[in-house]
């Protein structure tokens, strides 16, 4: 283009009543993305978009915007070729009319084929609008594009997450005035809500940014965040404490202040008798205070408050005292709960779980507790724990949910388990019991640690499995994004604990046990439920194994064969991976594949092999080979020697099976003979495919 582009900036600020801290981060991301899309849709060329957000304003700064929209070419269809030209190939009135109407020149037209025949086409440049003309529309669309879970009304005929009180729009440093969200836009902004409440007429972009900086508004999220981080670290250093802090709290406070300031306070040492987790939660939830821990992970009697103000001297001291007094009152409350809750030993609370519902169609927490004791007992026996340890594990299961009826957990629900463990210790329960109660909700997320103690592992397994079977039994099965009881997380926990702790558990028996403890109705329902639970767990198993191992097909073939014992599955995968490229593996998969193919159309209730029905020598021989070898192969399998089992299987069957298929017709008319041959194929197939891996599921490239 010959003309020099004229570029300018758009500066847009929406002033609101305080936005929810949790919304601001999402708004920041939405605004940038939506602005990019909108500008593109409107053919506006620009250089860069910056967004800023505080609790009181959303700011979009679009730099180097082309003053004109990008010109757009539109193709127009004229008359058909036949109508456009006369016999002498001269333009007709129809064509001239089209050219006249559209302003397209005759030399610029083209003839194009269409399904209706040949037509005249021409392209016309759509007039490029000035950005200033469409800016109100673009800004309105941008504001409307910000979505939030919960919007509100405030009598302006508009809805947003919180009331909008001013809108500033600058283009070429000048205000753009129009109606939006029940307001008239202008060049007015405001500084900090308390420290600089007066309206300010913005003279330029530079003036805007400078004014806010001087009037206690730090627009940049990261700057605010870094300031807070520095303050926490400084305080931790001062008290020689741990340099760690709650990131969620940091983000929240960053979005609760426009000018973060800091107050370091303390509380009386006597409250250190309150469990550390309670102190931290109380400080965080009650007053949004950062706790400081010492190097041995104990809470120190100090805190950091992040305030939305810059203060010093007497005012600072006063605010600090106010924070301290309120904290003291709250800690007193925790102390009150502690004394109320510990009037009786923890075990006395178990009975009260009868009043707490686990799920309305399943029963109370007390009934769940009984199931947990039962399942935990079963797992402990299964793993061969001695009597003493088994009793402790059962005790742990029995007490695991007792803290749900305490006042402390009522006040701080997130501390379930932690509180139970603390109270168990006060009630002089065994250390293993206390540890197990503490850990039995773990892992709470994908990144969370699994329990360290055996009691924690077993009760956690029992709890999670019971969650799955119980909710499944009343039809509360996760689907898509619907998983309100976090059952996928429970299943993942089950798999992770078993694999990590190398617990050799028969899932069949364990799930049977779990299902036997809830009323399901009838046997058919029970077996359906079992199949669902196994399938659900296997999905998580696949997820974890494929993360570690890759080899999706191999994992699948191994799981399909037999998924009773997760450790065994891992072992089979490990060994088969070693011989994945070997001739034996290839041969083995051929045998499994051929036998499995012939069985696809076989009746499901084949009788056992009957030697008397063998007609041909070759099939007799193959029958004998099976007879001679299958016990040895099973023996190797039972010892977990899968490589050797594979070798022996191949050695025994490879040649005779292929010969059998080449020479013997399986599908003969005689049903008995046919089924007998199929039965033999089935025996050979299943010897490998239901014990080691169903290799018919795997694609093989012969090298």
């Amino acid at each position: 283009m010959a003309n020099k582009k004229i570029i300018n900036n758009i500066l847009f600020e929406v002033g609101t009543e305080p936005l929810p801290a949790s919304f601001i981060y999402s708004a920041m991301k939405q605004l940038k993305k939506n602005a990019q899309e909108l500008l593109k849709a409107h053919n506006i060329t620009y250089g860069e978009i910056e967004t800023f957000d505080t609790y009181r304003r959303l700011v979009v700064y679009i730099k180097n915007v082309d003053e004109l929209q990008k010109a757009k070419e539109i193709e127009l269809r004229g008359p058909s070729k036949e109508i456009a030209y006369d016999d002498n190939n001269k333009p007709t009135k129809a064509l001239l009319g089209f050219l006249n109407k559209t302003g397209i020149k005759q030399i610029d037209i083209q003839i194009k084929k269409t399904p209706q025949g040949d037509y005249v086409f021409g392209t016309k440049k759509k007039e490029a609008n000035k950005v200033s003309n469409i800016l109100p529309k673009v800004i309105e669309e941008l504001l409307n594009s910000v979505s939030c879970d919960k919007n509100m009304h405030w009598n302006k005929g508009y809805t947003f997450v919180r009331p909008i009180r001013w809108i500033m729009v600058l283009w070429k440093q000048k205000p753009v005035v129009f109606k939006l969200a029940g307001l008239e836009t202008s060049n007015i902004t405001y500084g900090h809500q308390i420290l600089s409440p007066k309206a300010h007429n913005v003279k330029s972009e530079k003036d805007y940014f400078l004014y806010l900086k001087r009037n206690y508004v730090e627009l940049d999220f990261l700057s605010r965040r870094q300031n807070i981080e520095k303050a926490i670290n400084a305080l931790a250093m001062k008290y020689k404490g741990e340099l760690s802090y709650d990131v969620d709290l940091l983000d929240e406070l960053t979005n609760l202040c426009e000018c973060p300031g800091f107050i370091a306070g303390s509380f009386h040492k006597k409250y250190l008798s309150v469990p550390g987790e309670v102190l931290i939660t109380s400080m965080k939830k009650g007053q949004k205070l950062f706790a400081i821990k010492d190097k041995s992970n104990k809470v120190m009697p100090v805190f950091l408050a992040v305030i939305d103000n810059h203060v010093s001297g007497k005012v600072e001291k006063n605010i600090c005292e106010n924070y301290e007094k309120v904290l003291e009152a709250k800690l007193k409350d925790s102390e009150f709960f502690l004394s109320q809750d510990t009037r009786e030993p923890l075990v006395k609370k178990v009975d009260k779980l009868k009043n707490i519902i686990f799920q309305k169609d399943i029963g109370s927490m007390y009934e769940k507790t009984e199931r947990l004791v039962n399942i935990s007992d079963f797992i402990a026996h299964h793993l061969g724990l001695n009597k003493e340890k088994t009793e402790k594990v059962k005790r742990c299961a029995y007490l695991s949910k007792a803290d749900l009826v305490t006042d402390m957990v009522g006040e701080f629900p997130a501390l379930q388990g932690v509180i139970g463990s603390r109270y168990a210790l006060k009630s002089k329960e065994e250390p293993l019991v206390c540890e197990g109660i503490l850990e039995h909700y773990q892992p709470k997320s994908q990144d969370d640690d699994i329990p360290k103690s055996i009691a924690g592992c077993i009760v956690s397994l029992a709890d999670k499995l019971d969650n799955i079977t119980a909710y499944f039994s009343v039809g509360l099965i996760p689907s898509g994004s619907y998983d309100p009881y976090a059952l996928r997380r429970s299943a993942l926990g089950v798999v992770r604990i078993i694999l990590n702790k190398k617990l050799s558990v028969s899932m069949n028996l364990l799930i049977d046990k779990s299902i036997s403890l809830i009323s399901v109705g009838n046997q058919i329902k029970a077996s359906e439920l079992k199949a669902q639970v196994i399938d659900f767990l296997n999905q998580r198993l696949r997820q974890i194994l494929s993360q570690d191992e890759g080899e999706l097909e191999l994992i699948e073939s191994v799981i399909i064969a037999n998924c009773d014992n997760y450790l065994d599955i891992v072992e089979r995968i490990k060994q088969l991976k070693k011989i994945r490229q070997s001739k034996d593996f290839f041969e083995c998969s051929k045998i499994v594949e051929r036998t499995s193919n012939i069985l696809k159309k076989a009746p499901s209730n084949l009788p056992s092999v009957n030697k008397k029905l063998f007609k041909e020598d070759l099939e007799k021989q193959l029958g004998d080979i099976f007879e001679k070898n299958h016990k040895d192969i099973l023996g190797l399998i039972n010892k977990g020697k899968y490589i050797q089992a594979t070798e022996k299987y191949v050695c025994a069957f490879s040649q005779p099976v292929h010969v059998f298929f080449d020479k013997i017709m399986v599908n003969v008319d005689n049903v008995k003979i046919r089924n007998n041959r199929l039965s033999l194929m089935k025996d050979i197939n299943q010897l490998y495919a239901t014990h080691v891996a169903d290799l018919s599921k795997i694609s093989i490239n012969q090298n």
């Binding site: 009543e17 305080p18 929810p20 801290a21 949790s22 919304f23 609790y55 919960k150 509100m152 009304h153 405030w154 009598n155 919180r162 009331p163 009180r165 809500q193 308390i194 420290l195 409440p197 609760l256 202040c257 300031g261 107050i263 009650g286 007053q287 949004k288 205070l289 408050a305 305030i307 939305d308 103000n309 203060v311 005012v315 006063n318 605010i319 106010n322 924070y323 007094k325 309120v326 904290l327 003291e328 009152a329 709250k330 007193k332 409350d333 009150f336 009043n355 707490i356 519902i357 309305k360 109370s364």
Partner: protein, 281 residues
Amino acid sequence: MNFQDLISKLETYWKSKGCVIVYPYDIEVGAGTFHTATFLKCLDKNRWNTAFVQPSRRPTDGRYGDNPLRTQFYYQYQVILKPSPDNVKQLYQDSLEYIGINLKKHDFKFIEDDWSSPTLGAKGLGWEIWLDGLEITQFTYMQQMGGVELKDVACELTYGLERIAMVLQDKYDLFDLEWADGVTYGDLQKDREKESCAYNFEKADIDMYLNLFKLYEGEAAKLIDEGLIIPAYECTLKVSHIFNVLDARKAISQSERPTFIARVRRLANKCAQMYYEKNGK
């Protein structure tokens, strides 16, 4: 500034802003929202600006007078501005300055809090207002009342009078607050607090209260059928308070709780619906 002066100051301020000063409801309520000047008036088609003190009972919050911040009986200062004016936030901030809180010398934060009352079928969006880490006010744009969506959004400002007095008097035990010269809040309220806690937590006759719940519920239903809105609503208030006592007495299991709450809400919703039909359209 003593407690009674604080109340007068707020009254003067809000009177000057055009509020009608009314008086506390004479039936036990959990908050100023239960007062007909809030609950029913929010449903009214006319403008409504009011301010009043409302003694409020929350039996489960009792601490036998041992906690400096929590009691089962306390005083709210309630302001309703309907429709909500554009400068409502500034009006509120100015009211704090008017009673002597210099906001420049404090940490003043708006913490998201979407208020709802499951027993009243009421919902709003707004904030808890924190002053130096202490919640001093609930600030709500009321969106729904008794299950009815509000055509004119009302702003509800609920000041925690004791908390504000604590800041003003620099006393962080509410029983130490000066009510009037030489008379403390504790002088007037401590015995009542202790005895009420003993009653709510230990002595209230569960069978009697369960029975009362049923009786008042039946009465409310009957009055609803007869179209006597306010008497029906007053019986609903009784039912609500009786539920709160039963709750403090731990007489209602967690599984039954939602059912009890739904029973109260059903009555409240019906009253609201009837009032709205009569006065809201």
